[in-house]
């Protein structure tokens, strides 16, 4: 299963993801960080736009991971230099 993850520690609240795919991404009212509305999008077009959002996210906070086990979206920690798995 494909799952959208967001690392809130890296999100800089620029909202590029929301501009790209508002059905999957939203922003927290208080601190502007990303809120994943739908972490398992199935529609092909939506997934393409999620990949685009991952590519343009200035905080490199987003990723798509293949996994069977559900995990909390906000626990993923990357080293600051690592690119998300599906960048570009």
């Amino acid at each position: 299963m494909i799952r959208v993850t967001a690392d809130l520690a890296r999100c800089v609240g620029a909202g590029q993801c929301v501009l790209t795919e508002p059905a999957v991404f939203d922003q927290d009212e208080e601190d502007g960080t990303v809120v994943v509305l739908d972490s398992t999008p199935k529609d092909e077009k939506t997934v393409t736009r999620v990949r685009q959002a991952i590519h343009i996210c200035p905080g490199r906070a987003l990723a798509l991971v293949e996994s069977a086990a559900p995990a909390r979206a906000d626990t993923r920690v990357d080293s600051h230099l690592n690119r998300p798995a599906v960048d570009g």
Binding site: G13, T20, Q27, E29, E30, Q52, I56, G59
Partner: protein, 391 residues
């Protein structure tokens, strides 16, 4: 061993990066000499710049030794604390996190009716005035300045004061001493505004920050930063955008026909001009390898964003202005943790200005030949000094 070309910063054609920058594509991490004699690295590949701007070993501290192109514009005479644009982690994240909620897409969309009103009133005033008109003071500068008033909660009665001082601050025809006076007046005004909002709680950006316990001086600095970062930049994109569309009747006709395409036009204009490429300069805090080249601690790094936004590895036929491109991976707003805080406000302002202006004045045209136009070749942010138009 890289050679050391002197690097002109000026564009010979407004629609293209300087030829010297284009040549640097052959040497994407190059040692270059700036007009002030200092040597820095110049990056021209999109991927390298994105990597550099997300690497915390590069500092955005504009006062740090080695930072390229130290800003020389008028600043208030009293020392100001660093604002977020010059902070590094962890202070940067704290400062940005404190206000980023004010700039969410939802918040910015809520400003649309007020921005529309500001744009309409500026166009009313222009139409009531003589022809030809200069679009820069008539529309391009007042719109973003009044929008920042709105954002900060500057009372209506003070708009003229605020607007005239910020116009002075930006006008290179105004003597430097006078521009310093204007900078100080804005700073004092900002401090006074904050005192007033402390007395009388207000539901605006400054008011809400005060409720959250923000420090007064930091808040005055933030107000000043928003004005500096959001006024001239947006104004330049308005005038460059109007010029570009007037010069391209097919693109203009398409925009008029279907306003739903305006966001794409705006995005392509941002990419095509990349007016603030020198704002994303950095200085290395440690030795770092970028694109296979070792950059030493203390070395300055320049980002040739305009070339990078035409990088053949990232954009098909990047020298062509193509409003149908749908490319959002440009770095006109920078990249990494400092990526423009006001980008979604700027996008909305530009969309409303273009949609409204060309709908309300269908026969708008340039009142000068292209060769007569005066571009900001000497400025760190590219734009037009004036744009004569008639109708």
């Amino acid at each position: 061993m890289p050679d050391f070309p002197v690097l002109p910063l000026t564009r010979t054609c407004p629609y293209a990066p300087p030829p010297e920058h284009v040549q640097l594509q052959r040497e994407p991490v190059a040692r270059v000499t700036l007009p002030d004699g200092s040597q820095v690295w110049a990056l021209s590949r999109l991927d390298d710049i994105r990597t550099m701007l997300t690497d915390p070993r590069f500092s955005a501290d504009r006062q740090r030794a080695g930072f390229p192109l130290q800003p020389s514009g008028p600043r208030p005479s009293a020392p100001m604390r660093q604002t977020m644009i010059g902070l590094d982690p962890p202070e940067h994240g704290e400062a940005r996190r404190a206000v980023v909620g004010e700039f969410t897409i939802r918040r910015m969309n809520a400003l649309r009716p007020r921005i529309q009103q500001i744009v309409d009133e500026s166009i009313d005033a222009m139409l009531a005035g003589p022809r030809p008109a200069d679009l820069v003071p008539a529309l391009a500068l007042p719109v973003p300045s009044l929008v920042i008033c709105e954002l900060l909660g500057v009372p209506y009665a003070d708009h003229d004061f605020f607007q005239s001082r910020s116009a002075k601050l930006l006008h290179r025809g105004v003597p430097t001493a006078e521009r310093h006076v204007a900078a100080n007046e804005i700073r004092e005004y900002m401090a006074e505004l904050i005192v007033q909002k402390e007395k009388q709680p207000a539901d605006d950006l400054l008011g809400r920050q005060l409720v959250k316990g923000a420090d007064r001086e930091d808040l005055a600095g933030l107000g000043f930063l928003l004005l500096l970062a959001g006024h001239e930049t947006t104004g330049n994109m308005i005038s460059l955008g109007v010029m570009t569309l007037l010069e391209r009747p097919a693109a203009l006709a398409a925009l008029r026909e279907d306003p739903a395409t305006t966001p794409e036009v705006v995005e392509e204009l941002l990419r095509y001009f990349t007016i603030a490429e020198f704002v994303t300069s950095r200085v290395a805090r440690e030795d770092v390898e970028i694109g296979g080249v070792l950059i030493r601690a203390g070395d300055g790094v320049l980002t040739l964003g305009n070339v990078a936004n035409r990088d053949p590895a990232a954009f098909v036929d990047g020298d062509t202005f193509d409003t149908g491109r749908g490319a959002r991976h440009h770095i006109a707003f920078g990249f990494g943790p400092h990526q423009c805080l006001g980008q979604n406000l700027a996008r909305i302002e530009l969309q409303i200005v273009f949609d409204t202006l060309f709908a309300r004045i269908p026969d708008l045209r340039l009142a000068a030949t292209f060769d007569e136009l005066s571009f900001k070749d000497d400025s760190t942010v590219y734009g037009l000094h004036s744009l004569p138009v008639t109708w």
